[in-house]
Symmetry: C2
Subunit: 369 residues, 2 copies
């Protein structure tokens, strides 16, 4: 098997360990000795419910998720959550402030790349009033590109926003917040309005479980599609603080936008993520990946591993820059550990670079346009 | 392998052929000779896009879907579509009749079981005005149970409804429309308002690809979760007539409920079902199942097979009723070919029946409460 397998650098769906795929292949035929394959087993069966609970605890333990937060599983990817966080948190805001006019309900977005920009587009599509708390494109020298995490003095937050949104790692642009609170390119937690129940929302789709989540407990919602780091596409993971799991139907009666039932955090939470049939197969594979991750030493292990890998890659990039071979596209200190974005310089050089890589079995390096 | 596999009667996720599972297990490690597993491959890769197009054509050919209709793939199951059809067809109605007050926008629902009842609940949650075109519980002798398809004289449709909704096969209740147009328990197409562009919506989740779809071309939307007949959970298939793929954003500006982008038929159609990362693994397995189905003789083959199986089962049930062993729960002529619902009579008899079945490797017979 390993003979024919290539090394896949695709940004997502991304590579899975061979041992996990072997185990998954077995589970397709016989899940946990039930004689029924994982793709066929009832999601209400004892065996599956236990497995889902295990998956929940693998995440809770490795990320140190406090009991104030629920871990939920759903479908629709990060894009589904672009809408769901707006609708659920607008409902929450409506219940907190029933008499405020719609124009008074402001959603703060930090825009650091293509994905956070898409999230803004969706909030506007849904009719929300958006305040751009910071826009990386407006910084000196950036032009129209996202090349850095804004410095702390570039942020302006609203006093009582419906939500405060950021994307921790931008896949297309290769920009990531520093996970050191004190770093200039970290998220400016100290500038947020003072509240113990801040509506802070983070898209962790492309860095979930790759390292610790700074100030996890201060977040209202953290979401991630599984397909970047922990499994196949089709599974979305939510970490939601309990005060954000609100009665969306009561809010709709007060004038909030009605929330489709599959997007209601409350419907999901009340049914322990089994309101409707979940995507059992991605759940199964995510469980295998996170079990392996736990055995290897958990998120701490990956954090150290990823730090070393990123360091090596950025060092090589720097050398290449000095030689005029490469040009990094992201400002120092804002570069992603997950996806490193650079140009290969010279006429036809990029094609030669990609061909050479493919010949050595390294696929999916091209990335986005 | 087959030694340890049991016979799985679960209503869904339901059993998959061993040959498909073997093939799927191989694809997990190496999809179509790419050296990359199906769970890891980019959904933008040539190989995957070709596969998706093949899946589309496997459905189009076997069900004889006309070019007036698009076939789309999404996530979220039938429950997601309970909301999506309401939102997209409300948007369509708004664009057709911009000045009508909301109370004038009526949604017609035919209620024949638990799933169509859930669809009504969701329409009401979203604030829609519902007309129950027929309710099987109100028929003589039914009491609070769904035990039959209403006779044609029990329907009352609105003159210009936003949608006309029915569930072709009710899994919990074991009730299914006859697929013979002339049968008394067929869907009353001849009673519908006269229009070439009827907003007729059918939930085919539990009978999709098990037999032909009567009057398919007259439908506005047919939807189905894959997990009942053609693959694992996590894939939803839509057959949508082109006039129902509308500019939901323009409709929202006119006052329609905003539609989350992952639920917009237009966003899906414009991106050939690749607006966001699709659930590649269920798509892969559905392709294997439908390829096999085509080789066996297509939907016609299954229709004949299912007719014979159902006949045998209902005959046995009748014999058992005569002997006082069983009691069928559905009126003759309304019984489902997919899921046959009956009581086992006598103190402790049901438990003995289920135990006996399990001993012979027949699992999942218990069904819903």
């Amino acid at each position: 098997m390993s003979d024919s397998r290539v090394i896949n650098f695709g940004a997502g769906p991304s590579a899975l360990p061979d041992s996990v795929l072997d185990e998954a292949a077995k589970g397709l035929l016989n899940f946990k000795g039930t004689g029924i394959g994982i793709a066929e087993i009832s999601h209400r069966s004892r065996e599956f419910v236990e497995y889902l609970n295990e998956l929940e605890s693998l995440i809770r333990i490795q990320l140190d998720v406090p009991p104030t937060h629920k871990i939920l599983f759903t479908q629709g990817g990060g894009t589904g959550q672009f809408s769901a966080v707006v609708l659920n948190l607008l409902a929450r805001h409506r219940l907190l402030h029933p008499d405020l006019p719609n124009e008074g309900r402001t959603l703060d977005y930090v825009v650091t790349g293509s994905w956070s920009k898409k999230a803004v587009d969706e909030a506007r599509r849904l009719g929300a009033t958006v305040n751009i708390a910071a826009d990386a494109r407006k910084l000196s020298g950036s032009g129209k590109l996202f090349q850095e995490i804004p410095p702390h003095d570039a942020y302006t937050f609203s006093p009582d926003p419906v939500l405060i949104y950021y994307c921790e790692n931008e896949t297309v642009d290769g920009v990531q917040f520093s996970h050191k609170d004190s770093a200039p390119s970290s998220f400016p937690f100290h500038l947020l309005p003072k509240s113990t129940l801040l509506p802070l929302v983070a898209d962790y789709s492309s860095s979930f479980m790759s390292r610790n989540i700074p100030r996890l407990a201060d977040h209202a919602v953290i979401f991630a599609g599984a397909q970047k780091n922990i499994g196949p596409a089709g599974l979305t993971i939510l970490i939601v603080r309990q005060d954000c799991i609100v009665d969306v139907d009561a809010a709709a009666k007060l004038g909030a936008i009605p929330v489709p039932i599959t997007m209601s955090f409350k419907a999901l939470a009340d049914a322990n993520s089994l309101y409707n049939t979940p995507s059992v197969l991605p759940i199964y594979i995510a469980g295998l990946v996170l079990q392996r991750s736990k055995e290897l030493g958990g998120v701490q292990y990956y954090e150290e591993l990823n730090r070393r890998k990123a360091q090596k890659l950025y060092d090589t990039l720097k050398e290449g820059e000095a030689k005029g071979v490469f040009r990094g596209k992201v400002k120092e200190g804002s570069g992603s550990w997950m996806n490193v974005v650079f140009d290969v310089l010279g006429e036809g050089a990029e094609a030669r670079f990609l061909n050479g890589a493919e010949e050595q079995g390294l696929k999916g390096l091209k990335g986005h346009r």
